[in-house]
Subunit: 256 residues, 2 copies
DNA sequence: CAGTGGTCTAGACCACGCT
DNA sequence: GCGTGGTCTAGACCACTGG
């Protein structure tokens, strides 16, 4: 019996509910005996199920059925100002969406730095080689579990800009905490976004991304890149979101 | 040396251009000798490169570096009527986009059938159990190579409808050839789309999808589901597009 | 320490393409 | 028939968890 067939059999047990979310699978030794195959074959089968997001392995403990609840991400609403009222209550678009779906959003402390733009970011922001950006890296969670990586990059002058009535020491885009301002931070520093371009590609995560999101090395993720352009057509921000497929669905709604 | 490290070394050779697009890698026997590992380890490394889309294997022939040219798919323009002029020349939105990017579009003969809707399609089209749909399944190619699977489903009454001035025997949505009508087929049968909802999720292909698209079993693909709603809010069509990540990028542009 | 998952090798064997 | 990739087993061994 081939690994793909063993994986298929185990998947059937998961989908049918015979193995509940969070339940522990029989040990690889037991499965090998049951399916009358080598342990190595079981290992390969489990690796397949890990990639599809059906199970999660913990060395020394066991293999467990995954229980992520899928979350919709309404990309067309994002930053459109539909939720301007929420901004006043210190809640951003991501958080509002998570709450609407009955879960509790949270976010690790943003990692802020000023650094030389890498090749891709430089091209998106139309920067020359060696030019710097303000980087703001975040891990978004729902019910305490990782759902998305969301890294934003701003040209240095915009990232360091401060609103007229700002009374903090550092600019809002470089603050290592969540900041919300009426109309959005970019608007309040004089660079409102007028147009966005989203580029979406499914791919495999880097080892770093896989670790932070707690997914298997080959698990499919969506790389969602949003480039925001200001009134004069200048790119003012690029946001790179990495969304694992087993817990995310991106939604766009449009009138024709 | 572990498979991941071997894969990394080979990927470096591909990315650096030492191994050109389309080039054949050394045989697994040779690679095993070179890296001083077992052939099985090489096989696992090649499997990783297949999943990421870097190489393609052909039994009995060899392992070859992939050379797909990525294509952008401008989902926000699709069916918006921006290209109504193209419709007159018998060119649909997909084809127009491919031509703009300097490649030659083609499409296998659409597979048309009337069938009972599966659970997901029934829910999207708000049909009861057992209700039928007109299914129209297509494989889209660029420069003769597979790029996307695009399957459309219509409620039976709409799929069988015929425009007033239609002189063919079968309805345009059931014709086993490409049909273009001014304003789009759905409008010409009295059910223009007024609003669409797109749901995008990265996932792993089914074995059938993997075969038809000529990709590895675990390769990341995007499932893009577009549900089109008519003037009265009734869903008139659902289109499921499967786009492999190594050759597709989905683009949305929006004014804020 | 025993029990769990994870990794690699050696080797037998199969499937395919070509000449 | 030879060379290619693909598959599975047996078994040694490692890494982690928890009593």
């Amino acid at each position: 019996m081939r690994p793909a067939l063993v994986a298929e059999a185990l998947r059937a047990r998961i989908d049918s509910g015979e193995l509940e979310a969070g339940a522990k699978l029989p040990s690889t030794r037991h499965l090998a005996a049951e399916f009358e195959v080598n342990e190595r074959t079981i290992y390969d089968a489990v690796a397949l199920l890990r990639t599809t997001g059906h199970v999660r392995s913990q060395q020394g403990k066991g293999v467990f059925v995954r229980d992520y609840r899928p979350l919709e991400w309404h990309a067309h609403k994002f930053e459109r100002g539909d939720r301007r009222d929420d901004r006043a209550t210190n809640t951003d678009d991501w958080k509002a969406g998570v709450i609407e779906q009955g879960m509790t959003p949270s976010q690790d402390t943003p990692q802020v730095s000023v650094e030389v733009a890498d090749a891709r970011v430089a091209e998106w922001l139309q920067l020359g080689p060696g030019e710097k950006v303000v980087a703001r890296r975040r891990l978004r969670r729902a019910d305490e579990r990782p759902y998305q990586l969301a890294d934003s990059f701003f040209p240095e002058d915009i990232g360091r800009a401060v609103p007229a009535d700002w009374d903090d020491e550092v600019s809002p885009l470089m603050a290592e905490r969540d900041v919300t301002l009426p109309g959005g931070i970019l608007a309040s520093v004089g660079h409102p976004q007028r147009r966005v371009r989203d580029e979406i590609s499914p791919r495999t995560p880097s080892t770093d991304e896989a670790e932070r999101l707690e997914i298997a090395a080959g698990a499919p993720v969506c790389e969602h890149v949003r480039i925001g352009y200001g009134a004069d057509g200048r790119p003012v921000r690029v946001m790179i979101t990495i969304a694992p497929g087993d817990r995310n669905r991106i939604v766009y709604e449009m009138e024709l």
